[in-house]
Amino acid sequence: MTSTMIRTRGLTRHFTVKRQTVEAVKGLDLSVAEGELVALLGPNGAGKSTTLRMLTTLLRPTSGTAEVAGHDVIRDPRGVRNRIGYIGQGNGAGHSQRARDELISQGRAYGMSVRAARSRAAELVASLDLEAVADRVVSTLSGGQRRRLDIAMGLIHAPELLFLDEPSTGLDPQNRANLAEHIRRLRAERGTTMVLTTHYLEEADQLAERVVVIDHGRIIADDTPARLKSAHAGDRIVLEFDHDDEARRAQARGLGIAEGAVAVREGNRLELRLDGGARLAPKLLRSFDEAHLPVASVEVARPTLDDVFLNLTGRSLREEGTGTADAEESAA
């Protein structure tokens, strides 16, 4: 049996920037069930952080409703705060404080006794490999150590629902893998419901069982990474020829064979997007050979979430968005 952890209806947030209204989030309807691990994916300024800030009571919705962990974010924000954990983009622990002190005072903030907070802090320090630095001042910790401390801070009260805002931003690959490992373990051991925002495709792909793609404040897709890819992005076959002319003729011929494919040609380079690319590639090569169109190189690529995003919006996630990131910053 699963119950709903998050339910939003028409969740909307406007910001006023230079006397203009910017709609950062537009009528979001989102449901997250207990135990899900959901990634909100979108370019900078897509509205994912604004969404997260509304769900964690940091920002009041302009309109619409959101029920988080059984409490309404507007009518009962403390009820929400009591039951959620939050790991923000910055450092949860104050830089002038000692790591362990911050963990204990965080526990006190959630109503734990000093003794309980102290033993829980020790437990987290051990499991997040912070023993060597727990009694040091936070500003002397490395970036990776601070991030692990942030995770410990977010988990002190063993929340049933955990929000992570761009958890891996600024981490090197090793620490990123380390973070992913902690997230997986938390799910496996406690079944914690998790919602994270990210603009790293790999992160969403590898971690989340469900990806909610957000663009311009709206949900444009919502499914498992595998299904998103098969529904919204085919395989890619990239062919190179010696001459532009050959590529042009190959384009016409290729479209005849691969029905419903999308072809993009740049000079001597031809890119075909289609379903079942791996199976079609040999057939294409044979056909080009018969037509005396010698293929110089070929590459078959499985789709990524970036292809999904490109397909849905016509833009690549890798190009940093121009959306409302500034608006969020200044008005949030």
Binding site: T56, T57, L58, L59, R60, P77, R78, R81, N82, I84, Y86, G88, Q89, G90, N91, G92, A93, G94, H95, S96, Q97, R98, D101, E102, S105, Q106, R108, A109, Y110, G111, M153, E329
Partner: protein
């Protein structure tokens, strides 16, 4: 379960921890008042009613409190920038406790600084009237809670613009200081300056602290000072609590 008091205690003791661990930070922030004491006090002529030191030292105690407490918002500003303030906003800590706990902590550095100033000046002939001085510290405690709260409010308002926090703080600091008659008496000032001084709540605090430090407890000056300090405390906290509530609205 948590209460407003336990939340305030959590915030208060968290704020106090770095101060206790590194008490020299408190003394370091008194550098300017100490310079005034060393380089300005000797210039004051002895007036009829007692030594210049007896008049000047209580003012320096207030000045030190004013400098330290008005700058304390910078700590919050830093925590807004690094993210720990946000983390506390997501926690169930009551919004008023987030500012009341911080403001109450301002009392501690004020007490330490007052003690340091008194200890330094005693060998130079400053006479301490313990009872009055303790009452003066109560007045200053009220004042520093209010001023600290206003400084935190300024930090909340300036948010990511650190320069704005310091611009406003510095712009207000010196007029307040000069108009309160901390460095030189206002008595012989032109009428407009005296009027401005009378509008400055700090004037009444300084006057009260001065007479209290000199052992005079039962006087109208003390009454006005307590009233002014209480008003600053209440108004400061009121504004601060409102500002903290609005940050997540």
């Amino acid at each position: 379960m948590t209460t407003f008091v336990s939340d305030t205690t959590t915030v208060f003791s968290r704020e106090l921890r770095p101060v206790l661990r590194d008490p020299f930070s408190v003394i370091f922030s008194m550098l300017q008042p100490l310079l005034f004491l060393a380089l300005f006090a000797p210039l004051l002529p002895d007036t009829g009613g007692g030594s210049a030191l007896q008049w000047f030292v209580p003012g320096i105690v207030v000045m030190s409190c004013l400098f330290g407490t008005s700058a304390t918002g910078a700590n919050l500003l830093f925590e807004i920038q690094t993210g720990s303030h946000e983390r506390m906003l997501v926690s169930p800590l009551r919004r008023p406790a987030l500012i009341v706990g911080r403001a109450l902590k301002e009392i501690v550095p004020m007490l330490v600084q007052a003690a340091v100033i008194v200890l330094i000046t005693l060998p130079f002939g400053f006479t301490l009237h313990v009872g009055g001085a303790l009452l003066a510290l109560v007045v200053l405690a009220l004042f520093s809670v209010g001023l600290g709260s206003l400084s935190y409010t300024l930090a909340l308002a300036a948010r990511n613009k650190e320069w704005m926090f310091w611009a406003v703080q510095q712009t207000l600091l010196f007029p307040l200081l000069l108009l309160a008659g901390i460095l030189l008496p206002i008595d012989n000032a032109p009428g407009w300056l005296r009027t401005a001084s009378q509008l400055n709540p700090l004037t009444y605090v300084v006057d009260a602290v001065r007479v209290l430090f000199n052992g005079e407890v039962f006087s109208a000056t003390v009454g006005y000072g307590v009233l002014a300090a209480f008003a600053v405390g209440a108004v400061g906290l009121g504004i601060g609590v409102r500002a903290m509530r609005r940050t997540t609205a």
